[in-house]
């Protein structure tokens, strides 16, 4: 990230911070505010879309690590999402594993299988590798369709879809065994999450004052969200925690509950990915993309780092898959087809290849656009049944058309994607009214 001129750093630690300018800090605070306020401003329906954006953003960040940063085109995104989703879902459905553990296990399995599908990268490059990752798509689809034990039930009939049990955001059954121990455990857990968040924010390393203020925002923000959330949603004054996290707080039923889970996960993933590219491992990924022979001569074991990239990427994609499963009542293969792989590629192309923030913009764009079109179309069509049915016929084509147009426009106008366009706009206004 280019720093502004006129700012001098006294040591390397300060120079290597992520966000050195005041403007960027203000923006960061604005983002924190938006994150905290979103659930109150938006209705359940809009929040569902936001949640879908979060899932897609995590998946897109994962894919961008592999394709955007390391330069290994993957057509297996759908398959890796599926492995994460089914991994997480099966753990919960058949082994009663608590959802947080199931989520992590699912992601870990995806990482291992992803690493396996990265092995051909020893010999294959570019399109040939892409075709090899396509085999992941085919194999996983076949397994899910043919393997009976993972079939689910619908109205007494077996289907290919896997039913996902409802999970509470906080399940008191895991906790009930020893109330006191549990309370201590939760306090430690929350403390640990805050602590990790803070450490991940290492840009505040030098500036203690800013660090404490930031922590204060987070803590106060969390308290405000929870308390007002409880009051608004349950419309009852004060309740004990256990009364709050009841049946209503199902991750796949209550968008608000899912948001409370998905937003922190997304933020952690974004931070972790950003950090990765400040270190030698991330640099090795980019080096492989830019000049693989030079990277090798500089001592990067290309094969090892390609497989590592596959694993890290797949872990994050598996996480997105797990989130998808937790968000659903049932999952089936239709949600992990080759089209999904292509859609994710579109996200990172439109958002910006080799950019973490770009992945998020791209995910938001691809998820929100069809919804926007739908809403727009509904408004135009009105309530007249004839025009409504006509609208329903046209909608899919319109969505596909706009989708394709967006990719074309990005490729022609600014191949750096939304992130680059945003950067250009900022540069323009920073220098405005002088053009140099």
């Amino acid at each position: 990230m280019p720093s502004q001129s006129g700012i001098y750093h006294e040591d390397y630690a300060s120079d290597m911070q992520l966000r050195p300018t005041t403007m960027q800090r203000i923006r960061q605070i604005a983002i924190v505010a938006a994150v905290l306020l979103m659930p109150f401003i938006l209705g359940s329906n809009e929040l569902r879309i936001v949640n879908q954006v979060l899932i897609a953003a995590v998946g897109a960040v994962g894919l961008n690590i592999l394709t955007g940063y390391t330069g290994q085109i993957s057509l297996g995104q759908g398959a890796f999402l599926a492995i994460g989703a089914y991994g997480c879902g099966l753990m919960m459905a058949f082994f009663n594993v608590p959802w947080p553990i199931a989520l992590l296990l699912g992601a870990s399995i995806t990482a291992i299988i992803g690493g396996f599908f990265g092995l051909p990268s020893l010999r294959l490059k570019g399109l040939y590798l892409a075709v090899a990752t396509l085999s992941a798509q085919v194999i996983v689809e076949w397994v899910i369709k043919r393997w009976d034990p993972i079939d689910g039930e619908l109205d007494g009939r077996t289907t290919d879809a896997l039913n996902i049990p409802s999970n509470l955001l906080v399940n008191w059954q895991w906790v009930d065994a020893n109330r006191w121990l549990a309370t201590v455990g939760i306090v430690i857990l929350i403390g640990a999450v805050l602590w990790v968040t803070w450490r991940l924010q290492s840009n505040f390393q030098r500036d203690r004052f800013m660090a404490y203020r930031y922590l204060l925002y987070v803590v106060v923000g969390l308290i405000v969200v929870f308390l007002s959330g409880l009051i608004v949603i349950l419309q009852t004054p004060m309740l004990s925690l256990q009364d709050v996290f009841t049946e209503d707080w199902r991750l796949n039923g209550n968008e608000y509950a899912f948001y409370c889970f998905a937003m922190p996960v997304t933020i952690l993933v974004i931070m972790a990915a950003t950090n990765l590219f400040r270190t030698h491992i991330g640099r090795a990924f980019i080096a492989i993309r830019d000049q693989d022979i030079a990277a090798e001569v500089m001592g990067v074991n290309i094969f090892r780092y390609k497989v590592l990239s596959f694993m890290v990427s797949s872990f994050i994609v598996g996480l997105a898959g797990g989130m998808l499963a937790l968000h659903s009542t049932a999952i089936s293969f239709e949600r992990f087809t080759i089209e999904v792989s292509i859609e994710y590629l579109a996200m990172i192309i439109i958002g910006g290849l080799g950019s973490v923030s770009g992945s998020v913009y791209g995910a938001a764009f691809i998820v929100i656009l069809p919804e926007l079109l739908r809403t727009l179309g509904r408004t135009i069509a009105g309530t007249d049944p004839a025009s409504l049915s006509q609208f329903n016929r046209i909608l899919p084509f319109a969505q596909q058309g706009v989708f394709g147009a967006a990719i074309l426009i990005t490729l022609i106008v600014e191949s750096g994607g939304i992130r680059k366009i945003w950067q250009n706009t900022k540069d323009y206004f920073r220098l405005w009214p002088f053009e140099y």
Binding site: A287, A295, V297, M298, G299, L308
Partner: protein, 271 residues
């Protein structure tokens, strides 16, 4: 900690300096004989130049040393390691660095990050440290940043530190490429035409850096260069290749007076 501009930095153990010996190396591409039975040796701390007309096989020889090309015959020893059987990514670990003829920088990274990649082999922290970027992982980055800053000072590229390499002028890119190789903290450095396409001023700078690296850091230098003035001026010994055959080897004076060499060069100019 403050270093004088030329002092080889500290902490980092400089890679041991071995003699490099190329023994009867032959390399063929189909019918083309790029190298025929080439034997030469480079002593530690020497500046060793390889010259020859275009297509003589100079770059191919470096590629053999780097493990990028596999000669059909012969072996290349660095200390007691046979480089012919060593995969390219082990080279840097042995203390051998390389700057390429047609710049092969990482164009989408900043100058600073390109140099940091030169530190790659010295960085040991794992993926978890990287994701957290805290404690060990962060300290390591900062430590190595100090070495990189030292190289930046040496090559006088402070002003372009944060710029993307792709946006730099050709001469500066060449300099960054030299810097990236230096960041390995090598014992032997292979420079493939580091001054090609430069004006006199820029060439002078590079010559000065090469001499500094050789004298102050004690790095052995293998240099491919077309500018005879420079070569004869700074090299301890010179090898001359023509059509993949070693036609001369010795001090600049010996080579200058070698009839075969004169023949080859005159022949080229005449034809």
């Amino acid at each position: 900690m403050v270093f004088s501009r030329f002092e080889r930095p500290y902490e980092d153990n400089p890679a041991p300096r071995h003699a490099l010996s190329v023994e009867n190396v032959s390399l063929r591409f189909g019918g083309v004989k790029a190298l025929s039975d080439v034997s030469l040796d480079v002593q530690p701390r020497e500046i060793f130049a390889i010259i020859g007309p275009n297509g003589a096989g100079k770059t191919s020889l470096l590629n053999c040393i780097c493990g990028l090309y596999h000669p059909q015959e012969g072996r290349i020893l660095y200390g007691d390691v046979n480089l012919v059987q060593t995969p390219p990514h082990r080279l840097a670990h042995l203390g051998i660095a390389r700057a390429f003829q047609n710049i092969e920088l990482f164009t989408h990274m900043t100058v600073q990050d390109n140099l940091m990649l030169g530190r790659h082999i010295h960085m040991k922290k794992n993926i978890l440290d990287a994701l957290l970027y805290w404690g060990r992982g962060q300290r390591e980055e900062i430590e190595h940043r100090r070495f990189v800053e030292h190289v930046i000072d040496l090559l006088e590229i402070q002003h372009i530190r944060k710029q993307l390499v792709g946006s730099l002028a050709y001469g500066l890119q060449k300099r960054v490429e030299l810097g990236r190789a230096l960041c390995i903290n090598p014992g032997l450095i292979l420079l493939d035409e580091p001054m090609a396409g430069m004006n006199v001023e820029e060439k002078k700078d590079i010559v000065r850096y090469v001499l500094d690296i050789n004298e102050e850091w004690g790095v052995t230098i293998v240099l491919i260069e077309h500018d005879m003035g420079v070569v004869m001026d700074i090299s301890d010994r010179v090898a001359v290749l023509d059509f993949g055959i070693l036609i001369g080897l010795g001090t600049p004076d010996e080579v200058r007076n070698n009839p075969t060499v004169i023949q080859a060069y005159l022949g080229e100019e005449g034809g």
